[in-house]
Amino acid sequence: MMSVDQYLPILGLLILGVLFGAGSLVMSAMLAPRKRPSDAKLAPYECGIVPEIEPPARFPVRFYLVAMIFVIFDIEVVFLYPFAVVFRQLGVFGLVEILTFSVTVFGALLFLVSEGALSWGPVKHLVAGMPSRTSSSTIVRINSDSDQAA
Amino acid sequence: MISLSPTAPPGVITSEGLAADLCCFPTPDQYFALISSFRDDGFEMCVDVCGVDYLEHFDRWLPDGVAPSRFEVVVNLLSLSKKQRVRVRVQAGNDSPEVDSLFTLYPGTEAMEREAFDLLGILFTNHPDLTRILMPEEWEGHPLRKDYGAGRVPVQFKESPGPR
């Protein structure tokens, strides 16, 4: 019997979750304005212009890559939550455990960056042979006497 | 202005504008050659291209030998090395004004010529994209022409019919 009341908080949490979810749905159904949104409101917002040219169905794969990378590293953060709750009882063993876990994760990130998954390709920037410039080193002052013509 | 050295090619009538700017009055076919000769002569930048509709001021001053017409295209060239300006006024014709485009000499004039076409209806031959630039696409008429109404809405208290 004793084990039953261990699970009471989980039950409470479940009920609260359901209540909150159902409650917000019901309230918004009750209080939301009845009007069906007009077609202008349904149209995509593109800075005030309703576009004629349909956006293409295919878009570059790099968007997908970035999304996947984010999802992977987001899930890894989820593993840290249970650790954060009990890390005092786990002591040194917990610390070593979590360090190895994060090193492996970080290794994955390093591999991805070295593979160039995060770089967006050839951007037309003037970078080669550029000294580190400050706002006064990059300009030339031409006063009235030197007056170099263009 | 310093010395007035830009030599206009022969056959182009020139005159002295206000503040010693040099004004040239080429005919539409001398127009393109004159501008390219100015460009090789050191006028690196074309500052401004604008149209003027002389419907109500037809009898303006023009050097003799220049046949006045209703539309005029005014081009402003600037030489950075010589610190000088030149104004080229070409008579562009009466009802359907047409002048060659300066796009291949100065790419910067593309938008200015589109504006002259949009507001005054002056056509520019072999202009890359002669469409309207300031007015909405299906706008009829060219607003800056003198015969185009000002489009004024009668203000409620001035011209609107009184209650009685």
């Binding site: 800075c47 004629e52 293409p56 878009f59 990059t138 030339v140 | 700017d21 790419p107 309207r132 696409e137």
Partner: protein, 450 residues
Amino acid sequence: MSDPTIRTAERIELLTAETSEGAQELQRRESTPTNELGREVGAVLRLDGLTLDPTSVDFDRRDDETMIINMGPSHPSTHGVLRLMLELDGEFVLRTKPVIGYLHTGMEKTGEELSYIQGATNVTRMDYLSPVINELCFSMAVEKLLDIEVPARAVWIRMLMSELNRISSHLVWMATNGMDLGASSMMIYGLRERELILALFEKTAGLRLNLNYVRPGGVAADLPDGWQDDVLVICDTIFARTFEYDELLTGQPIFRNRMIGVAPLTAEEALALGVTGPLLRSTGVAWDLRRAMPYLAYDEVDFDVIVGTYGDNFDRYAIRLNEIRESIRIVRQCIEKMPSGDYRSQDSKVTPPPRARIGESMEALIHHFKLFTEGFHVPAGEVYSAVESPRGEIGCYIVSDGGPKPYRLHVRGPSFVNLQAVSLLMRGGSMSDTITVISTIDPVMGEVDR
């Protein structure tokens, strides 16, 4: 406004038709003529006559792989109602076409209906970040036509006010440029400093913005007494604050990555496109109208022309930051050398008699009435006068037919021409670079669309 009788499918077409601009927009590649394609891709003619070769485009995508989107009229970072149509390959910009005209106010048509005295109010609303400089350009053109002399004090007051206006315009640029790059605290600092200058404008001309202060023949009113210490306070605080901005922005890695080396422009491309102002000076061409073709009393004042080296965004930022300091230097010299005397030309053709005399003499009353109702007549002729505005050369071309109203008023807006360099600067850059490019060109849509 959904009209129930129209079925939904038609309704979307109606909406699309209303907001679409047909031929002015960016079309698909195969339906664009090659010359226009070259223009949108930003291929610029070299000065040595190399013809435009659109096929020299380095990398290209088929039509169904690219996406054409609108960075449209109501966008937080387009500095007003500029609509940019971008053809994107993922994050990279292949083609750009600015669609403008969303703030077209028909000012040149209204300019033909207002007399010369009223003309300044119309012109001052064109470049609403530097109103004094618009009025200066208009007034100098009218004075050239009338060929009257402006008294020395009016010349120096005009120079003082236009330099203060240049500082306030560059401060707004620093503010919005910081905001565009995410440094929103820069927005607060920039606008806070600007309030000092606007307070002086309000004290002098009665208005913070669009102050109809510089008029043909001189200045509307004399400077308020005790203006010297006001201006000194402005100069000292803003000069010290520019070093704070420098510290805030220049060392910041995000700012540097997004500004250094982005959107370079070479001198010959700038000249071919007719670009002027900080954009031209960033490419190394030392062209500043205040130095090259001095007007007002700029030849008696000592200041430096700031010229960049690489022609990229960082240079334009550095030029504007240092131009604030140069303008402060000019303002300080204006305080010392401000001559006394009348602030408006005594030529009765242009200046109405002072109000006091109206009560006494009948002719003064008639003269005053005639000047303000019909306006003074300007001899027939045409003139082009250009002035250095914070964005470049603003020129005013007036054709007068001898009447009280200008026959044709055309204002050459520097941002209108600088904006055409957008397709060249954005080519090959990423989507976030377009924000910095628009910001460093600093277009003011009032003067682009006139």
